[in-house]
């Protein structure tokens, strides 16, 4: 059963990629396909990031341990979509003009922030295998709490791209705020009950 759920989640997580590839093949991305791909892959990165963040609260509320079991895979899918997003920007929008790339990352604040979020996701992805978890011990948890920072950076990155209407940033920002807020209150509650018992 657990294996079946995992396979199902894996297949579902690939659906956005398949749909995008189909749109590329059908030439259905509009007159500026690079820009459209960047927007789509960026939005899917932030969606997967939020989905990953939602798993722990969902587990606690539903008491279904199955949620927690999907955490690593969805985290890696977040990194995957963010990598595609980064590559789309690098190849299709910047055309691998290496000199410009460094300049862009330094000079465009929204790119600096987006790139920082990506570096965090990359570090979390590299340290996600079980061997790394064992090796890092206590530090692993500390390191992986950086996902909170990455999610805030991702929302700022989006907010900075939007121009006249900040609707999407408000939407994803609110979701991130709820998920981080939940953890904060859980942390306070846990600390208080600890005090009472001691």
């Amino acid at each position: 059963m657990a294996k079946l759920i995992k396979s199902l989640v894996f297949v579902l997580a690939l659906v956005p990629l398949v749909l995008l590839v189909l749109r590329i093949l059908r030439n259905d991305l509009g007159p500026d396909p690079a820009e459209e791909l960047a927007i789509e892959t960026g939005e899917w990165s932030i969606r997967f990031l939020i989905l990953t963040l939602a798993l722990t609260p969902l587990r606690r509320i539903s008491k279904q341990v199955e949620f927690a079991r999907q955490r690593r895979m969805l985290g890696l899918f977040t990194l995957f979509y963010a990598s595609v997003h980064f590559m789309v920007w690098l190849s299709f929008l910047l055309g691998f003009r290496w000199f410009d790339i460094v300049e862009e990352i330094i000079q465009r604040p929204y790119i600096t922030i987006g790139f920082s979020a990506y570096l965090i996701l990359l570090a979390l992805g590299i340290t996600s295998p079980k061997a790394m978890v064992r090796k890092l011990g206590k530090n692993w948890k500390r390191l992986h709490q950086l996902i909170y920072v990455a999610s805030v950076l991702a929302v700022i990155h989006l907010l900075w791209i939007l121009r006249l209407d900040i609707g999407p940033a408000v939407f994803y920002g609110a979701l991130v705020a709820i998920l981080l807020g939940y953890r904060f209150f859980y942390f306070l509650k846990a600390r208080n009950s600890l005090h009472r018992h001691s």
């Binding site: 509009g30 007159p31 209407d165």
Partner: protein, 347 residues
């Protein structure tokens, strides 16, 4: 990664063929349309058919604005075709009608590029009136028909460079802004011209958004010499026909040497004033969008590099970066207006 085998013929070379075909189709449809109009008692001039042949670019038969008032049809019956040389013409490949009308920044209709064409179905561009105010001898509220009456329409093919680093080549129909300005006789105090876009919350879903960080109406402005420059154009059509809502129906500004956001759409107010007007983007982020907004490859926008541009339409695997030119290539006509000005500071 999928790598498409390059075609024998470049896609950029195919487009004119399509435009050419569209012109043929339009002519055939034009004849049908004329027969229909004749039956309905409206008698369009024969010039319509001759016109179709001489204009440089014609839209596909399916028109974006259906059945406009007879005076519109009369107006469009006689259009002077674009010349064969710069600056009112460019031989660069036209951006197809489909892309010109489906890839738009018109935030009143929504944020995505596809929103304006998808969401503008309720928009009514006829009847339309424009308020003329400020330092002018003949202020008042004028019906568009009366504003257009003294002006002969002409075709112009201009490059359009968006601040977002993409660009198009568009065949507009319209008349010089200078002749409109002369029509209302501005006073000697008129140093700037200010424009306003319509605010129609019922027909424009973007206006109803709760997360818009802008105060409508959209505003733009030009210095008087910029407004009087022969390049500055008031467009009422594109690709030989009535301008669709998503492109700024019924009348919009076209300032080809400035970033696209200066070319304000669906104008309802023209105000002549002594002082520099506030403009929408400048009000929102003064460090990003200047009043002049002249296309300049040497002055980067905080969000977008400006030394290169993506000429649309693009395909994924044949990246076409064109070098952006100072004043979008219209320097001969406009550079003298900015002599002695620090363009990096007055961006």
């Amino acid at each position: 990664m999928l790598i498409k085998k390059p075609a024998d013929i470049k896609s950029s070379e195919i487009t004119p063929e399509r435009v050419y075909r569209n012109r043929r189709e339009f002519m055939a449809d034009g004849t049908r349309l004329m027969l229909g109009a004749a039956a309905a008692g409206v008698l369009p001039s024969i010039a319509n058919a001759q016109n179709g042949d001489s204009l440089k670019a014609r839209a596909p038969a399916a028109m974006s604005r259906s059945a406009p008032a007879p005076w519109w049809q009369e107006k469009f019956a006689d259009i002077k075709p674009a010349p064969d040389s710069e600056p009112f013409y460019t031989g660069e490949t036209l951006t197809p009608f489909e892309d010109v009308t489906k890839y738009n920044n018109f935030y009143e209709f929504g944020m995505d590029k596809s929103d304006p064409s998808a969401n503008s179905g309720e928009f009514k561009a006829d009847p339309w009136s424009v308020e003329i105010t400020g330092e002018v001898a003949k202020p008042g509220s004028y019906h568009l028909e009366d504003i257009l009456k003294p002006h002969a329409l002409e075709e112009r093919i201009y490059r359009l460079r968006c601040v977002e680093a993409w660009s198009m080549v568009i065949p507009w129909i319209g008349f010089p802004l200078a002749s409109l300005i002369k029509q209302f006789e501005p006073t000697s105090k008129a140093k700037y011209v200010e424009f306003e876009t319509v605010v129609d919350a019922d027909a424009m879903p973007g206006i109803r958004s709760r997360f818009a960080i802008v105060r409508w109406p959209y505003r733009e402005g030009l210095r008087m010499d910029e407004a009087m420059n022969p390049l500055t154009f008031m467009a009422v059509g594109l690709y030989g026909n009535y301008i669709p809502p998503q492109n700024g129906a019924p009348m919009r500004l076209v300032v080809p040497w400035k970033y696209g956001f200066k070319s304000i759409k669906s104008i309802v107010k023209i105000n002549f004033r002594e002082t520099m007007p506030n403009t929408t983007w400048n009000d929102l982020q003064a460090n990003e969008y200047g009043f002049f907004a002249n296309v300049n490859p040497a002055v980067h926008h905080p969000r977008w590099r400006q030394d290169k541009e993506r000429r649309l339409p693009q395909t994924l695997f044949s990246r076409q970066y064109t070098d952006t030119r100072l004043f979008n290539g219209y320097g001969d006509q406009v550079a003298s207006m900015y002599e002695g000005m620090d363009l990096a500071r007055n961006f």
